[in-house]
């Protein structure tokens, strides 16, 4: 399972996120709903991990647990060796939502400054970081625009810039490109890989597109619903440098096939 590109770090994988026997049950009027049951997963530093599965499989819920937006009802979960709440207080992660969620009354620049203002960075540092991340997501010159003046793909890039601005080591992305069309999506996937290579972040990425998951990830976590659980964890042996046409290679198709099998095994397609 050791990949060539990871050979240097692979000597000692550093776990960043570790879940053991994680359970989360929501109490609803219709009785308990098992959103997550017995989830065991370790994500190492620098990995790109995709969560894939049909709606209701708990992939978003798991991401929200890491972000301390939901609280597990059983098992243990650590982020950087801390509880998720502590990790959040120490700015462990940046979170990108499905909708760009830029505040419409703030310019792109001011939107990116939002976390910086809250975390108390000084003015000069804010300016420096905004300039830096705008460049990172290829949005130089758009800082003074309001969100509605940008296309959907550009808005999502701005939202990624906002999550990167305070230099968290972990980037959690909840179907960030789900609402975008195929062409824009391909383009953003390519850019995201470049960004990942440059920043060396650990990325958790929720999707329900098999090609997207296989194209982006070093590890693919296949989940299934009722109760939400992990059915397969696939380590990808694709090289880290991935041109878009890698998706036509037999290696790529083999992994995609295994993901599809995993989804089927979890009875993901029943009803």
């Amino acid at each position: 399972m050791v990949q060539p590109a990871m050979a240097l770090d692979a000597a000692k994988p550093e776990p960043v996120i570790a879940a053991q026997h994680l359970d989360l049950t929501f109490q609803t009027n219709d009785g308990p709903v098992h959103a997550l049951r017995d989830v065991n997963l370790t994500i190492n530093k620098g990995e790109f991990v995709s969560f894939i599965g049909p709606s209701g499989c708990g992939k978003t819920t798991f991401l929200r647990c890491i972000a301390a937006l939901e609280h597990p009802t059983g098992g243990t979960l650590t982020v950087n060796g801390m509880t998720p709440d502590e990790a959040r207080m120490r700015r462990a992660y940046g979170y990108v939502f499905q909708a760009a969620g830029l505040y419409p009354w703030r310019t792109i620049e001011k939107n990116i400054k939002l976390p910086l203002e809250i975390m108390g960075f000084d003015r000069a540092e804010q300016e420096r970081r905004v300039k830096n991340v705008l460049q990172l997501v290829d949005l130089e010159g758009f800082g003074k625009k309001f969100p509605w003046q940008l296309s959907g793909g550009m808005q999502q890039r701005a939202s990624i810039a906002r999550a990167l601005a305070f230099d968290a080591d972990i980037l959690l992305m909840d179907e960030p490109f789900g609402a975008l069309d195929e062409i824009v999506r391909d383009h953003l996937n390519e850019q995201l890989l470049k960004l990942w290579a440059r920043t060396e972040k650990t990325i958790g990425f929720v999707t329900h597109s098999i090609p997207e998951a296989v194209y982006l990830s070093t590890k693919i976590v296949v989940m299934s619903p009722r109760p939400g659980r992990i059915t397969d964890i696939i380590e990808s042996d694709l090289p880290r440098a991935r041109p878009l046409d890698i998706r036509d290679t037999p290696e790529f198709l083999a992994i995609a096939h295994r993901v599809r099998e995993g989804l089927r095994a979890g009875h993901a397609y029943e009803d």
Partner: protein, 329 residues
């Protein structure tokens, strides 16, 4: 890239046509109302003219009767031109100030003078009501106890007829020792003292729309907007200033416009039962004492003009603020 750079260009040539397109419907409606109004004037004033005809035993043709309904001194429904003439005569035709006992004073024959006496308490009451409304809304949104306790009272307060409690408020406030003390000490004048109960009644009517609108506005951010704040471990004050408050601004302006009209009504109502000498309410009251329908109508129009002006000022402010907050042009 051109998407962001593109701005809708307003053509100069289409400007005149655009203006005409805006003005024409308004003019059409106004013309319609005037025609109906004249018709109603003739119908309603005819009885008196016919009665006079009979008493004086004279014959009149149909057109003479119509003409006579246009010029009565105390018509049941004064026709538009009589009201217009009255408004002209009591604004432009009268000095605003006059000399009395060697002092320059406001001229009570002037309608602008009365409007002034109604507008100040209105603005003051609106300011108090608006401030109070925002404060209550912030409390309601942040405290479950306040949400459960304040809202029913706020709603109940609006079900009490303002006409019933206005005299009580006037009597109580006028007799407040602190207020009388202030007058005795010369800190405030008697006129200013009269302004206080009017402003309070006006704020009583104007706080409510602000509470309702502001609560809706402060609760308007979506779950994901709030989640974003949580991922930053933002404090409640930070979430309030950076998310809830800006999100509520469009709601605030909408309710402020309702609120300022209510404030004006509140002030006028406050002037009715108190024997106020000045103000549009006082003008309405004296008009009805002496059957001066023309005076009543002109005061009503002045009130409408004031309300329209206040709402327009707020509308202009709204446009400026929302534009700075990135609203689409």
């Amino acid at each position: 890239m051109s998407v962001a750079a593109k701005h809708p260009a307003l053509g100069g040539a289409s400007g005149l046509a655009g203006l005409l397109g805006k003005v024409l419907p308004v003019v059409t409606v106004v013309m319609g109302i005037i025609v109906i109004w004249y018709g109603a004037s003739v119908m309603m004033n005819r009885a008196w003219t016919l009665d006079q005809m009979q008493r004086q035993n004279i014959e009149m043709t149909g057109w003479e009767i119509v003409a006579a309904t246009m010029t009565q001194e105390r018509p049941v429904l004064p026709p538009p031109h009589q009201v217009a003439a009255e408004i002209w005569n009591t604004t432009i035709g009268e000095p605003i100030m006059r000399e009395r006992r060697g002092q320059m004073q406001g001229n009570p024959r002037n309608l602008i003078f009365h409007a002034y006496h109604t507008l100040w308490p209105t603005i003051l009451g609106f300011a108090i009501g608006g401030f109070l409304g925002v404060l209550l809304a912030v409390g309601i949104v942040h405290s479950r106890a306040m949400d459960l306790s304040v809202m029913p009272w706020a709603i109940a307060s609006q079900t009490i007829p303002i006409l019933a409690i206005a005299p009580i408020i006037v009597v109580v406030v006028s007799n407040l020792p602190a207020l009388n003390n202030a007058v005795d000490q010369g800190w405030i004048s008697d006129d200013t003292k009269l302004l206080v109960p009017k402003a309070l009644i006006s704020s009583y009517l104007s706080f409510f729309p602000v509470v309702v609108g502001m609560v809706a506005g402060l609760r308007s951010p979506q779950a994901s907007d709030l989640d974003l704040m949580r991922t930053y471990s933002a404090s409640r004050p930070q979430t309030f200033w950076k998310l809830r408050l800006p999100a509520a601004v469009p709601f605030l302006f909408t309710s402020l416009k309702v609120s300022i009209a209510a404030a004006l009504v509140g002030t006028i109502v406050a002037e009715l039962p108190t024997g106020a000498r000045f103000g549009l309410g006082a003008r309405l009251l004296t008009g009805s004492y002496y059957g001066q329908t023309i005076q009543i109508w002109s005061a009503l129009f002045m009130a409408a003009i004031c309300a329209a002006a206040l709402v327009m000022i707020l509308g202009a402010l709204e446009r400026v603020v929302l534009k700075r907050m990135g609203a689409r042009a």
